[in-house]
């Protein structure tokens, strides 16, 4: 019943819990605790994918997140489909559906494999040298073909429905990696009572200890020691343990991003659980215990299914009870592969031979292998392999001369030694150094408050690793006395020598004809790397980019050092002289939606609404987005479209009264002894003489003299101004003010407070406005004489305190009722009710735009675009000529700002009153001029005005005021439209209504 290659006993799988899954449509059984890779191996499946370029059959190479070959698509339906997952990390669940990628029509027979035969014509960078003829053919013809051939998996076809969440956490010590070093560090740090977070990308803590057989730590076997360590950590309240959690990015100031996979390993996750959780951890100290990765050997045909890292094979046998083959050849430059050979032999794998690159391997484990009857061939390398969908044999030959021997096998285990995992350290901007003795890059100078421990800094002996972790844990906690830091662990484990090999292994084949892979996934061979150096690519970054070595989804985890060695060889430079490519986040690929978290749909960006919003929604308003605000654009009645609704709303305001929600306007309270002086400096206008109780329209410039914002300002008291800004400009204006206040004029005694959210603003506009408000107001005389245009009074309305503005952005008699936001809705309701006898009409932003355009009032951001002076937009009168200084004054004095041919605001009337110009359309003198035409300006605002009875438009036109009376042209795709240039006021030119 059980899978053919499942060992009868052993491993950390739960044999009581069988799990069924499918791979490429075929059903298999594994056990709880299996990864997809271990379950497939237990079923004798090694062919799992096709390579990127040559579509070569590929098997499972590793047992970890560094896997370059075994990439699969997993998902029961399209909404849950994820491409490019590493089978070595996917935990199987009942009913899981997995498929291989990058093959057509099937994994065993893939048409794309013709590329393999054409390999000699497709060396590194071939695409830079060809596909250039005929002109334009690249994008039309070649590129689509290349694109189809490239890519690995396929995108999901449907939107993911899972949830993702985010958490922020702080701790004294974050430990990344829970192998022996990380566990020891977490134990030591947490013992002091400081907050510790320990994370590991695997499903279980323990790292390499989970596949040790005869190792004893402090008298307990390795697995028991791990269990006890984890139990101890669990029992401490100051510890947070995160399995299946990858530290993917190391950001400035010890911010580390963790990706926790919460439900992928569950067959039927509860709906309350997110699929993944993003942790943003700010740690005082970080301990990196990320371990090391076994390095492949680069030999001819080293990529066939069945070629596997020696340590990975050991993991499959010891930890998963899965036998990776029946007959193995081992190819090594390091002792560790002997230990693997011995473990596999014990698991029933026949070890045909160990080919050791070293001329004279010695040491306990070597002797043990010999004693166990394993054939050890010193000074021998693999010359090549055979087998199409699975390795069938390896040919072995002495490094120096002699015959080769073909050894049948279904498994080839290789080990080129170990490479410390430096990704996170490098991301932290720590400096790496080449260690001659270890022949590896190791962490040298930390930049953050960080320390690396154990294998990731080249320490391998288990006792040393544990002691290293412990010491770092104590130091990171910062509590222990330095003498207490050392702790000895008694360890009984195999002692291994540490050596290795980098770059291509010696062989006697024609190097120009064989494929010896450096980067498995991207199909980069040793030849490709050498070709790059031959073509003058000398920086390792250039070689990487030209050959694409190290740019696959494993980011060169298994290939970087081999590529580096080949380059250093080819250039005759030492490895450190060649340098190392930069490690970039994330450590392993990280889900897009994890970053988005809850920021999705409605929550994508907060929605800002006014106190009147619900009323508007109930009354059928159509809203528009203005920044993050929702503003009512118009209130259609009975099937009206926007134009009909706006025409009706406009007429109501001009003929009777309208009500408008102005609450989104930015509001800033400017208070203090020097408030008037501050206003004088920030705005072009003069403020000193503005009396309390009066309003003034203010214009604010940037330092370069261009209009930045505008708004009506009320002087509430000698030392207090109620400033309003545009809706979108509020934060910008406050920042601008604060910037000047804090950096330029710290001597001024002024305080700025944003009050946008504190005031609801209800504009009541139209000839009947006073009649509507009068009965509701207490303590304010609204009469024309007592409260003229541009004045402000405080008092009560409907019993609520108010700052009542008499102001108009419509050209009609108008008031803006400011009341505390919480009363906004109640006051609005009361005004609306009081207005009923007058047919009070709610209007939206669109009507507001039309009404102000009829009067020629500008909207900053519509008439202006950051290149206009006040004079350009007809606001020269608002610039206090006599003022000593204000922001932008000096810039306004520049000759360019005075030129008569600057773009100036004018009105535009089409000869056909029904023609409404398109906003943004260009204005030219001669519509028949050839392209490129010289534009004189453009249309900034354009509407059909029901009140004026025709279309009206505003434009910015070069020398515009001097062109009043001229006819210009607006070229459109269907022909030019003639326009008369006029004064930009279309209604009540004398401006009398406002004083009504």
């Amino acid at each position: 019943m059980s899978a053919e290659f499942r060992l009868p006993v052993g491993g950390r799988i739960d044999r009581a819990k069988p799990v069924r899954f499918t791979f490429d449509g075929k059903s298999y059984e594994g056990f709880a605790g299996d990864t997809l890779a271990s379950a497939l191996i237990a079923n004798g499946v090694h062919l799992v994918g096709r390579s990127f370029k040559y579509h070569r059959p590929r098997g499972i190479l590793t047992a970890g997140s560094e896997e370059p070959n075994a990439l699969v698509g997993v998902g029961r339906d399209e909404a849950h489909y994820t491409p490019n997952l590493r089978a070595t990390q996917v935990e199987i669940t009942d009913g899981m559906v997995a498929e291989s990628q990058n093959r057509w029509p099937s994994l065993a027979f893939d048409v794309g494999a013709v590329n393999d035969g054409l390999g000699r014509f497709l060396p590194a960078g071939f695409y830079y040298k060809t596909f250039m003829w005929p002109a334009g053919a690249w994008a039309k013809f070649y590129e689509p073909v290349i694109r189809r051939a490239a890519g690995l998996g396929r995108a999901p076809q449907a939107a993911d429905t899972d949830r993702y969440t985010q958490r922020y956490a702080h701790c004294e010590v974050l430990v990344v990696g829970a192998g022996p070093a990380g566990l020891a560090a977490a134990l030591a740090a947490s013992e002091t009572g400081v907050r510790v977070i320990l994370c590991d990308e695997q499903a279980e803590f323990g790292g390499s200890l989970l596949h040790e057989r005869d190792t004893v730590i402090d008298g307990r076997d390795a697995e028991a020691w791990v269990a006890e360590a984890v139990a101890t950590l669990c029992s401490r309240e100051n510890v947070r343990l995160l399995t299946r959690t990858t530290a993917f990015g190391y950001y400035p100031h010890n911010l580390v991003g963790l990706a926790e996979r919460v439900t992928d390993h569950l067959a039927a996750p509860g709906s309350d659980l997110p699929r993944e959780r993003l942790w943003q951890v700010r740690a005082r100290e970080v301990v990196i215990a990320a371990g090391s990765i076994e390095r492949p050997l680069v030999f001819p045909e080293n990529d066939r299914p069945g070629v596997m890292m020696a340590e990975a094979a050991r993991i499959y046998a010891n930890r998963f009870g899965a036998k990776p083959g029946n007959r193995a050849v081992v190819f090594t430059a390091s002792d560790s592969a002997y230990r693997a050979a011995l473990d596999l032999k014990a698991a029933g794998v026949e070890i045909a031979a160990i080919a050791d690159l070293r001329p004279d391997p010695t040491g306990a484990v070597v002797e043990r292998a010999r004693a166990d009857g394993i054939r050890v061939l010193p000074g021998t390398s693999v010359q090549g392999t055979s087998g199409r969908l699975r390795i069938r044999s390896a040919s072995l030959g002495a490094v120096v001369g002699g015959a080769t021997e073909t050894v049948p096998c279904d498994l080839l285990l290789m080990s080129g030694g170990f490479t410390p995992t430096l990704s996170l350290f490098s991301q932290s901007r720590g400096k790496m150094a080449w260690d001659e003795a270890l022949e590896a890059y190791v962490p040298s100078v930390s930049v953050e408050r960080e320390r690396s421990v154990g294998a990731c800094r080249g320490i391998y002996g288990l006792a040393e690793v544990l002691a290293d972790g412990h010491a770092a844990g104590v130091a990171a906690a910062g509590k222990g006395a330095s003498d207490g830091a050392a702790r000895r662990f008694t360890v009984d484990a195999e002692e291994l020598g540490h050596s290795g090999h980098r770059g291509i292994t010696p062989h006697r084949r024609d190097a120009s004809r064989v494929k010896a892979f450096v980067d498995f996934q991207n199909d980069v061979t040793a030849k490709d790397v050498k070709l790059a150096t031959q073509e003058g690519f000398r920086s390792i970054e250039h070689v990487k980019r030209y050959t694409t070595t190290g740019m696959a989804t494993d980011q060169g985890r298994t290939s970087n050092i081999n590529a580096l060695a080949i380059v250093s060889d080819a250039l005759g430079k030492s490895v450190p002289e060649v340098g190392l490519t930069t490690f970039r986040p994330p450590y392993t690929p990280t889900t897009f939606a994890l970053f988005a978290g809850q920021a999705r749909g409605e929550l994508f960006d907060p929605v800002r609404t006014t106190p009147i919003h619900d009323w508007a929604a109930e009354h059928g308003a159509v809203f528009e987005d203005v920044g993050i605000w929702k503003r009512a654009r118009y209130f259609p009645e009975g099937g009206e479209d926007m134009h009909e609704a706006v025409a009706r709303e406009c007429r109501a305001v001009r003929e009777s009264v309208g009500i408008f929600d102005g609450s989104t306007l930015g509001k800033i309270e400017v208070v203090g002894r020097d408030a008037a002086e501050f206003m004088n400096r920030m705005y072009t206008n003069a403020w000193a003489k503005l009396e309390p109780g009066r309003l003034r329209y203010g214009v604010m410039l940037r330092e370069d003299g261009f209009v930045m914002d505008d708004g009506v300002v009320g002087r509430m008291a000698p030392d207090r101004f109620h400033v309003t800004t545009t809706t979108g400009g509020a934060p910008r204006v406050l920042n601008h003010m604060e910037d000047y206040l804090q950096t330029e004029w710290p001597d001024l005694e002024v305080w700025l407070t944003s009050t946008t959210e504190q005031w609801a603003v209800i504009a009541v506009q139209g000839p009947k406005a006073r009649q509507v408000l009068e009965p509701l107001v207490e303590g304010i005389d609204l009469s024309r004489e007592a409260m003229p245009h541009m004045s402000v009074r405080t008092g009560h309305i409907c019993g609520v305190p108010t700052r009542l503005f008499r102001v108009s952005f419509t050209g009609e008699l108008g008031f803006e009722v400011n009341v505390p936001a919480n009363y906004g809705r109640a006051v609005w309701d009361a005004i609306f009710a009081a207005g009923q006898p007058h047919g009070i009409t709610p209007y939206g932003t669109e009507t507001m735009h039309v009404l102000r355009a009829e009067k020629g009032y500008i909207i900053v951001g519509q008439e202006t675009d950051g290149t206009n002076t006040p004079d350009d937009v007809g606001l020269g009168w608002a610039v206090g000529k006599a003022k000593r200084d204000f922001v932008g004054k000096r810039s306004l004095a520049r000759p360019q700002m005075q030129r008569p041919d600057r773009k100036q605001m004018v009105g535009l009337l089409t000869s056909d009153p029904a023609t409404v110009l398109e906003e943004g359309a260009q204005i030219v003198a001669d519509p028949n001029a050839p392209l490129p035409m010289k534009a004189l300006g453009h249309v900034t605002s354009s509407y059909a005005s029901s009140v004026v009875g025709r279309s009206i438009a505003i434009g910015m036109v070069a020398g515009g005021r001097g062109r009043i009376g001229e006819t210009l042209h607006v070229p459109m795709p269907g022909g030019a439209i003639a326009v008369d240039v006029v004064e930009p006021v279309f209604f009540d030119k004398e401006g009398e209504r406002i004083h009504g």
């Binding site: 890519g151 999901p156 970039r584 749909g601 260009q922 490129p932």
Partner: protein, 417 residues
């Protein structure tokens, strides 16, 4: 220069590609050159190439502190378009697009210019107004740019979400069909190879540490980590480091340097046919020939030289990508990096003579200079060779900030990739 072609590739295959020569020389620096270019990014290399090709000035060195193409040229998301608002900009960027069209053959290097269309999305009324203004302005400037409805956007880019209930619904978009992408490394390498073949020395791993000026104030050459190199004309093309290099000659630049980020997904089969940009919610996306989704993020709020940006910036962009393209939610980020961009107050570049005799500067491309590479190099070479600007770059002076004659592309687009 060895000719690259399908035929030569085929022929070399039979000698196991032993016949390929280095694509550029790696000479020792000479004591002096007629022109020294500081910075071997795309713009610097292109400048050198056109100096040699169009002005016969071949005694040129391009000096690079790292490896050629390793700055923003090799870090950008390669969006190419020319539908800028102002005539001056449209002329400059369109000059580049015209050169892109023939660049592979001019350089004999496949730079993979792929005009598959750049679609800029409008999400609110203000966007619509602004993009329509662009469309109209571009039309009479002779630059292609067209307005698409939301449905037309969806037809052009099937993965796009145009559901009306989105937080920021797609109201339409401006499409430039000649816009697209190119392979950034190939641009640097192609120019390097072609310039080198014409005699230009490219000196890598050589940092300029000072600019020497004579008693008359004119430049005399540069001090470098490999010694003094004389030159009567120096062109500074150092992108994010321009302020630092120009300060060596005592010139203060109106620039701020910010980290700008990009990221790619794991490679997938073709699914994304064009380039989509959304300035309003900060997302820029295309799919590379290798299959990776190439995504541009925003700049940090603070100036910095660190070549990496904050996590929250990349996060914010992925929010937007997931909203606009919900089918990519389960895709995974493979690599994330940053570059330092040099930003001017009006978001338009500076391509000009400077107050120092013999010193020229090409900078301020900010978040969007890759697209301009050929055009910029072309007119900057003219400026250096003739000691006066080409009509196309004449408006792009340093003095415009003093005088207030801005070419304010910032007004229209918060970030102009």
């Amino acid at each position: 220069m060895q000719k690259f072609s399908g035929l030569s590739l085929f022929a070399k295959a039979f000698s196991s590609h032993k016949g390929w020569e280095p694509q550029w020389r790696s000479p020792e620096p000479k004591a002096a050159y007629d022109v020294v270019i500081v910075g071997a990014g795309g713009h610097g290399l292109a400048t050198a190439y056109y100096l040699a090709k169009e002005h016969g000035i071949t005694n040129v060195a391009v000096i690079e502190k790292g490896w050629l193409g390793g700055g923003n040229t090799g870090r950008n998301t390669t969006i190419i378009r020319s539908n800028y608002l102002f005539e001056e900009s449209a002329a400059l960027y369109d000059h580049a697009v015209k050169l892109w069209e023939g660049l592979s053959r001019d350089l004999n290097y496949n730079v993979m210019y792929s005009p598959r269309g750049v679609l800029m999305l409008a999400h609110n009324v203000h966007d619509v107004q602004s993009f329509k203004r662009h469309v109209h302005a571009n039309r009479i400037a002779g630059v292609d740019n067209e307005w698409l409805s939301a449905e037309e956007c969806k037809a052009f880019c099937p993965p796009l979400n145009i559901a009306p209930g989105m937080r920021y619904p797609v109201l339409g978009g401006a499409l430039q069909r000649r816009g697209g992408t190119a392979r950034h490394d190939a641009v640097a390498w192609g120019y390097a190879r072609a310039a080198s073949a014409r005699g230009v020395d490219i000196i890598q791993n050589c940092e300029v540490t000072a600019i020497r000026r004579g008693p008359d104030g004119a430049v005399q050459g540069v001090e470098t980590s490999r010694g003094f190199i004389g030159a009567p004309k120096i062109g500074v093309v150092a992108a994010g480091n321009t302020s630092v290099v120009m300060a060596m000659a005592g010139v203060r630049m109106p620039l701020e340097s910010y980290p700008l980020q990009a990221l790619v997904s794991e490679p997938i089969k073709p699914v994304f046919p064009c380039v989509v940009m959304s300035n309003t919610i900060h997302a820029y996306i295309s799919q590379s020939d290798k299959g990776e989704l190439v995504i541009g993020a925003g700049t940090d709020a603070y100036t910095s030289y660190t070549q990496r940006g904050g996590l929250h910036i990349a996060t914010h962009t992925l929010d937007a990508i997931c909203e606009l393209f919900p089918q990519f939610r389960r895709m995974r980020m493979l690599r994330n990096w940053g570059g330092i961009v040099d930003v001017t107050p009006d978001r338009s570049p500076i391509l000009a003579k400077t107050p120092v005799a013999g010193l020229y500067v090409n900078c301020g491309w900010g978040t969007g200079g890759f697209k301009a590479t050929p055009g910029s190099g072309n007119v900057f070479a003219h400026t250096i060779a003739r000691d006066e600007p080409h009509p196309i770059n004449a408006p792009f002076t340093i003095e415009r900030f003093r005088d207030g004659v801005l070419i304010d592309e910032a007004a229209a687009a918060a970030v102009a990739h």
